[in-house]
């Protein structure tokens, strides 16, 4: 049985093709002005990679902030539900899933079946999401993908106002003028983010099996800061940015199976 999960995020659309309970392929496209078109592209890319056609798919499930605009969708899955499903599928012991995307961060508590039981969301403020790291990389004139490595070189963090992207930007500009070390500024950026995320995790109750997913989970600087703040080592899947799409594809599979019965 073939199912497809689509995650329509603010920055990218990700698609996962699931064949008999295993990931067959993945695809993604930039959301830009037209998330519907981006989703079509991501799905096309994923199906092509698996040698499949649209008509082979039993169920399409959509998640992500623009899920209402998804093409082909037979149903939608909440973002928290998708995170929980994917987290437990990837790491069966996981009970807390942290998802940090471009404009939103979530911490989800779930049971052994991958069903969400509680969650905390940061959705109104960019200081707790990937947008913060992007803005700071721009202010530091460092490539986004290099910021993490830079932060790992620092022993301490510079003092910056990290409660707000806009204030943070101004602070970074003045720190650069005072010729403060860029690695220390970079570390401050990740520490501040990690502070926010770890307080979200703590609100759900401490749990040693924490999984980190979402686009920001690819950033070594953020991982290092989050591990330090949480005092544990988070588990990270090989494709953290596809977790939402995977969760949707898994839900799609159980819905399709339910419909067959």
């Amino acid at each position: 049985m073939i199912t497809v999960g689509m995650d329509l995020g603010t920055q990218r659309v990700k698609a996962v093709v699931l064949k008999d309970g295993a990931v067959a392929s993945r695809g993604q496209a930039l959301s830009s002005f037209d998330p519907t078109k981006a989703a079509e592209q991501a799905v096309e890319e994923a199906l092509k990679a698996a040698g499949l056609k649209l008509s082979d798919v039993s169920y399409f499930a959509a998640t992500g902030s623009a899920m209402d605009m998804a093409p082909y969708a037979n149903g939608t899955v909440s973002m928290m539900g998708a995170d929980a499903k994917a987290g437990v599928y990837l790491f069966p012991k996981a009970r807390t899933i942290v998802d940090v995307g471009a404009e939103e961060a979530r911490a989800v508590k779930c049971n052994e079946k991958g069903i969400m039981v509680d969650f905390v969301v940061n959705e109104r403020c960019a200081a707790g999401a990937g947008a913060f790291i992007e803005a700071m990389a721009r202010a530091l004139e460092v490539k986004l993908e290099d910021l993490g490595q830079l932060a790992l070189k620092a022993e301490r963090a510079s003092p910056i106002n990290a409660s707000c992207v806009i204030f943070g930007e101004s602070d970074v500009v003045s720190l650069i003028h005072r010729q403060e070390s860029k690695p220390e500024i970079a570390r401050a950026v990740f520490d501040a983010m990690a502070d926010r995320i770890s307080s979200m995790v703590h609100r759900l109750g401490v749990n040693p099996d924490v999984v980190l997913v979402g686009g920001v989970a690819k950033d070594v600087g953020f991982i290092d800061s989050l591990n330090r703040k949480l005092g544990l080592t988070v588990s990270i899947p090989q494709y953290p940015d596809y977790a939402g799409a995977l969760g949707a594809a898994l839900t799609a599979a159980s819905r399709a199976k339910g419909a067959q019965k």
Binding site: R124, C125, A126, C164, I166, F167, V173
Partner: protein, 302 residues
């Protein structure tokens, strides 16, 4: 008014840089003081002759605060016949006040805006709302322009002028027209739920995708900004008369909505475009120049 500010057609967010000289003369016997207000977005410098506003310049703040301060001050001096050495005392203020190299002293922008508002509107002002590029301050003052209490947004830039720049750029509307356009709606829409500056673009794009007009999008965002400002004023305690200073004082969409929400009228805004008129965006620099005069006179007596 000398229009030295360059008009850059494609940059809709760019507000007008300008300088003005008031129609009066100075002599060598006069006391010349200056205030330099380096804000997060705009740098303003004002020159006073015996404690009266004489000239000022408004420029965009660059990434280097000392350079921006120097630029604003030279702009204020341009065409006056005055030299920097004629200025007896300079007070630096604003976000970058510690980086004003020529300043004899730095004073917080809260005190300076209070003083400046008292200078522009007179002793009846009791509440000053200062809205700049990335901050909002609600300030209570007494009849002499002294601060009695204040509140500011120290954790979050949501609802500040920077968001308006993002909208101007995205909607391709000159920033100075935004306020007026935001009022061209038949019915005021619900305010947007999120005024985070970093999300302004996504927020606006989402509404445009839903088929909202530019006017409606601006109305919803401006309304949300005004609600935040009104809340801050209510928290500090509103006492009449109310005035608005800073760059957003020029945004009629903001000012009129605050009046509606609070149910009070602000004191009339000087028409800053007119020759010989004061500009509430320079309130901080004017206040700083007044402090400079007082500090200089105190030093002479000592």
């Amino acid at each position: 008014m000398t229009e030295a500010g360059t008009v850059k057609g494609q940059e809709f967010w760019r507000w007008q840089e300008y300088h003005r000289i008031m129609p009066k003369k100075w002599t060598n016997k006069d006391l010349i003081t200056a205030g330099v207000d380096v804000g997060s977005v705009g740098s303003k410098a004002a020159i006073m002759v015996n404690g009266e506003a004489y000239s000022w310049g408004i420029t965009r703040t660059g990434s280097n605060s000392p350079e921006s301060a120097t630029k604003a001050l030279s702009y204020a001096l341009e065409g006056t016949g005055l030299k920097a050495s004629d200025i007896k005392y300079i007070v630096g203020t604003g976000y970058g006040r510690v980086n004003v190299p020529m300043a004899n002293k730095a004073i917080t922008e809260i005190a300076c805006h209070a003083k400046g508002a008292n200078y522009i509107w007179g002793p009846t002002v009791r509440t000053v709302l200062d809205v700049g590029g990335q901050d909002i301050k609600a300030i209570r003052i007494d009849e002499t322009g002294r601060v009695t209490s204040f509140l500011m947004n120290d954790k979050c830039a949501a609802g500040t002028g920077r968001g308006m720049e993002v909208f101007a750029d995205l909607l391709q509307i000159p920033i100075e027209d935004i306020g007026g356009i935001s009022l061209k709606v038949e019915k005021e829409p619900e305010p947007v739920s999120c005024t985070c500056v970093a999300f302004a673009k996504t927020e606006a794009m989402g509404l445009l995708r839903k088929g909202w007009t530019k006017e409606k999008v601006l109305a919803a965002y401006t309304r949300a900004m005004a609600v935040r400002m009104a809340n801050l004023i209510n928290r500090v305690g509103l006492e009449k008369e109310l005035v608005v200073t800073g760059g957003q004082s020029k945004n009629i969409g903001i000012v009129s909505r605050i009046e509606v929400i609070l149910g009070v009228k602000c004191l009339p805004m000087p028409n800053w475009r007119d020759e010989g008129s004061l500009d509430p965006m320079v309130a901080g620099a004017l206040g700083a120049a007044l402090f400079a005069k007082a500090l200089y006179e105190k030093a002479q007596k000592a």
